[in-house]
Structure formats: C-alpha cells, structure tokens
Amino acid sequence: MAYSEKVIDHYQHPRNVGSFGTSKDVAARRDIGVGIVGAPECGDVMQLQLRISEEGIIEEAKFKCFGCGSAIASSSLATEWIKGKSIEEALTIRNTQIVEELSLPPVKIHCSVLAEDSIRSAIADFQKKNGIVTATAETNAAAH
C-alpha cells in the first residue's frame, strides 16, 4: 500500500510523542485528561494525554500509538491540531478532516475515527476529574 507523503512524514517524525508520567501518575492529576481508545487485539490502541488549563485551554498534548502508519500519523496530527485550542474548539475536530489532510484511503478511515475518539475520550476524562458535566462531550464519547 502506498502512503501519502504526510503519513510518511508523521510516521518518521511523529509530533508530541510521550506522556505526562506513568498511568498511575496521570490518573492522580486533575489537570490532565487521558484518552485510551482501541484494543490490542484489533491492532490499534491510541493514547492521548492533554494538559488543560483552568480556563479550559489545551496547553499540551502528548500521544502514544500502537497501530499502523496511518494510525500513528492520525494521532500525531491530532496532537498538532488541538494544542492551544479550547476544549470547545477541540471537540469540533472531525475524523473527516484528518482523512482529508492525510489522504487516507477508505480502509484506513477507522484510524481517523480512533483519533477523533481519543480527543473526546481525553476531554471527557478531564471533565470527569473536575466535576464538569457537559452533555455534548459525554454523549459523543459514548456514541462509538
């Protein structure tokens, strides 16, 4: 399968790889939202960690991904896009935009869906930790 240049670039130079500590560390931190979506037996797992300010701005985003090149590129791109955005803005990102930007073929659309899910899931985790109830984030996260 031929990859687009952008996918290859993200694969070779992934942006914002990392985490804010062990799973235990981040679970205890209220300024960090963690989203882990996918499953090893399905061949892709994406982990997104967002450091969010009290004002609701995503100050830092870190990702890790077990998955194909397109999955790695989708999550790397997602971190680039949401950095500096407000929670509300981040929630407007759609998987179709990722598909378009990376020129993903139809069989790789699920990679972009996972990336969108990881954003929603990380934000929902942040909101849950901080007792924020917003109907939109919760329902969307549960929809997939």
Binding site: S19, G43, D44, L114, D117
Partner: protein
C-alpha cells in the same frame, strides 16, 4: 560487495526465476513454439519432447514416475483438482444427496485447500477441521482420532506457508494407506526445498508450484498415484482430454519447460541450499531474539523448514514495522496488511493471541539471500522495533508491570 536495496525476503510468496530456468525456456517461445498436442509435425514433437523432459525432471524430484505428474496452472488449481476431483470420484452417494463422505483437513491450511473443502461441505460432504496445538504441528494422532468409517480423503499440508512448521506427513500417509483412505498433501513450501519421496512418504496426491521453487509463475503440478492405490479424479476442466483426461487445455509449454528445469536445479542444489538457508535463518532468529525483549518465534521450535521465519515483536504493530523496514520486502500477519482487516487466521487459530498476530513478521529467505542481507535485516528490524516501542502505549504499560491482556479494552 555493496548491499543492493531493496532486499527480497518474501520467498514464501514467490521466488525470483533462476536465470538458468529462463534460458531453458527461451527457445520454446520463438523456435519450438508448437502445440504439444500437434501430433503430425516437428513443431508439435519438439514441444512434446520439452514437456516430457520436464515431466521426468518433476517426477525425479519427488520420486514418482513421470506418468504420475499432471500439469496445472499452480498449486491452487492442483489443490482444487485433488480435493474436489477425489471427493466427487469417491463420493458415497450421488450429487444432491447428503452424507456423501467424510474429509479431514486442518484450519491452518492455505485458502486453496480450505475453500474447496467448504464448497464440498455445501455439496453434501462432511468435513472435520482439525485445530493443531499452538506449536502448529498436525500429528498422525490428530488424524487417527478424526478418521471415521466413511472417511474418503485426508488433506494436510506438508509445511505451513505462514509459520513454516512441518506436519507429520509421512506418518499420516502411512496411516491413510493402512486405512485405505486417499491422502493429499499441499507440498508447495516443501517440494524443491526438502527431500521428497512419494513412495516412502505414502502420498497419493501432492500439489506443488513452479514459482515457489525459482521457476516461472502460472505453472504447477499434481502428483496422482497410479499404483497401489490407483487414484482416479473427476476433472474440473473438460475439453480436449489432455493430461490423461484430468486437465484439459493446451499445455503451457514454456512454463512447463521452465518448471522442469527449476525442479532439476532444486534437486542438484538441495542439500547445499538447505544447509545455507538453515544457518541464515538460525542467525536471524537468534540475533533478533537476543537483541530485543518480548520476541516470540512462532511455530514449533525445531520442526520448521529452513526458509520461513515468523516472528512476533510484542507491543509493536506489524504494518507499522513493515513501514519502518521499507527496504526489506517481507510480509506481516497484521490485519492492516490484509484487505479484510482481519489478522492472520493461521496465527489466530493457533491461539497465540490476536495481539501477537498483529505484531508478526514473516521473513522468507531463498537461493539468493546473502549473509550481508541477513545482517542488514537484523539491524533494520531492531532499530524499527525500538523506535515503535517508544511510541507504543502498550510498551509503557508492559514496562510499568501492567498485564495488557487483563485490561478491559473498549473494542472498536
């Protein structure tokens, strides 16, 4: 000598045609181009001579008589002809009825065996699908336990094409002969690489293919036993009655001549090739297992052919690994490399876990693989696995001491 990239390590998929094979084929395109069935002129005779020399070469490689070799288009056709042809010939009751006979095969066979068996199931035959243990070996005992009074055919591959494991074929052949059951083996990954003797090994029907043994694509053969027992098959392709009526159609003379030559070359160089490939494979597996953590060589530890190596690298997804070693042509059991988005059914059925199936790489070496290429592959794979592990959330969990398989994942 400088290393030439890309490196080919997908010899279980197909092989480069040996230049000596190409040379043998050339006259049959432009000079001896006759139809081997033309009986009344020299063009036809020349073509027929070429075919019969090739038949001798193919028969000699497997210890058969040349009359027992039927030309086909490849192993897929050979398997179809053997399985459907034998089942329909030895059916216990006519078309349209049930309980037409019992067939034994195995869940990790190639699709070219599984799919004909599924069709026969719809046609009223009863199939037992054996699932081997995680080491991948189909044993004589597994077949013995599955045999019934109405068993007419057993079809078990000699070598599994994904993991390279060697089944107990001579033992199963002997058992089938004792019980009077027809025994077919798909020997695509065995013949030409390992010593074969259809008499000693009690084979009734055996498929193999030219392009896996350095011959051209589009040609294969089916060994059909003529004595004790004489095996009869119902043809799949009707027409001019070529190949003793079992496979009509003008013979692919150039291809067959090349296939014959390829068989001859395999026989000549077999021992040396086998030793060389075995030591290269040992080096590959030994180095990767010692340099990297959480590496699993799939299939039985020893009962494997020298040219196929299947390895899983824990917490690294196979397609992304292929992308990282783009100068090495090989394949993966990862779902992402298949159109169906399902991981390898062979690895899945062995119960090694879907996760390790997604993380697997098949490297298959051949006549032109050099030690320098093996060294390059070891380094490239090591580097890529390490890079991908820095990206892998599963690797972090593993390092934190968390059992990834115990986590409740939200499957997508």
């Amino acid at each position: 000598m400088a290393l030439k990239l890309p490196i080919y390590m997908d010899n279980a998929a197909t092989t480069r045609t040996d230049p000596r094979v190409v040379e043998a084929m050339l006259p049959y395109f432009t000079e001896k181009f006759g139809n081997a069935a033309s009986r009344n002129h020299v063009f036809g005779w020349d073509a027929e001579d070429g075919i019969e020399i090739a038949r001798e070469q193919a028969a000699s490689l497997i210890g058969a008589s040349s009359k027992e070799v039927i030309w086909t288009s490849g192993s897929t056709e050979s398997n179809n002809l053997a399985i459907k042809g034998a089942a329909r010939m030895y059916a216990k009751s006519p078309e349209g009825t049930k309980n037409r006979g019992h067939i034994i095969t195995c869940v990790i066979e190639h699709k070219a065996v599984l799919d004909p068996c599924k069709r026969l199931e719809r046609e009223g035959f009863d199939i037992t699908w054996i699932t081997p243990a995680p080491d991948g070996i189909v044993t004589r005992q597994m077949i013995a336990d599955a045999i019934r009074s109405d068993t007419i055919l057993v079809s078990i591959m000699w070598v599994n094409n994904e993991i390279g494991t060697i089944n107990e074929v001579p033992e199963i052949g002997k058992l089938c002969h004792e019980k009077g059951i027809i025994f077919h083996t798909d020997a695509t990954q065995w013949v030409g690489k390992m010593p074969t003797d259809v008499e000693r090994d009690c084979i009734d029907l055996m498929s193999w293919s030219s392009h896996k043994i350095y011959g051209p694509k589009g040609v294969g053969a089916l060994f059909v036993r003529r004595r004790s027992p004489r095996v009869r098959l119902e043809a799949l392709i009707d027409g001019g009655g070529h190949e003793r009526g079992m496979r009509s159609g003008t013979l692919n003379v150039t291809g067959i001549v090349g296939f014959g030559k390829a068989c001859e070359l395999c026989k000549e160089g077999m021992d040396a090739d086998r030793e060389r490939l075995f030591s290269l494979k040992q080096k590959l597996e030994r180095e990767l297992s010692s340099r990297l953590e959480v590496v699993q060589v799939n299939g039985h530890a020893d009962r494997r052919v020298p040219h196929i190596c299947n390895i899983s690298f824990g917490y690294v997804e196979g397609e992304s690994l292929l992308m990282g070693i783009k100068d090495i042509a090989c394949s993966s059991g990862s779902a992402c490399t298949s159109a169906s988005l399902e991981p390898s059914y062979v690895l899945k059925n062995l119960g090694i876990g879907d996760e390790l199936a997604h993380s697997s790489l098949r490297l298959s070496i051949g006549r032109w693989t050099t030690e320098a290429e093996i060294d390059y592959a070891i380094q490239a794979i090591e580097k890529s696995v390490e890079h991908l592990r820095t990206l892998s959330p599963l690797w972090d969990l593993f390092k934190e001491g968390i059992d990834v398989s115990k986590i409740e994942w939200q499957a997508h």
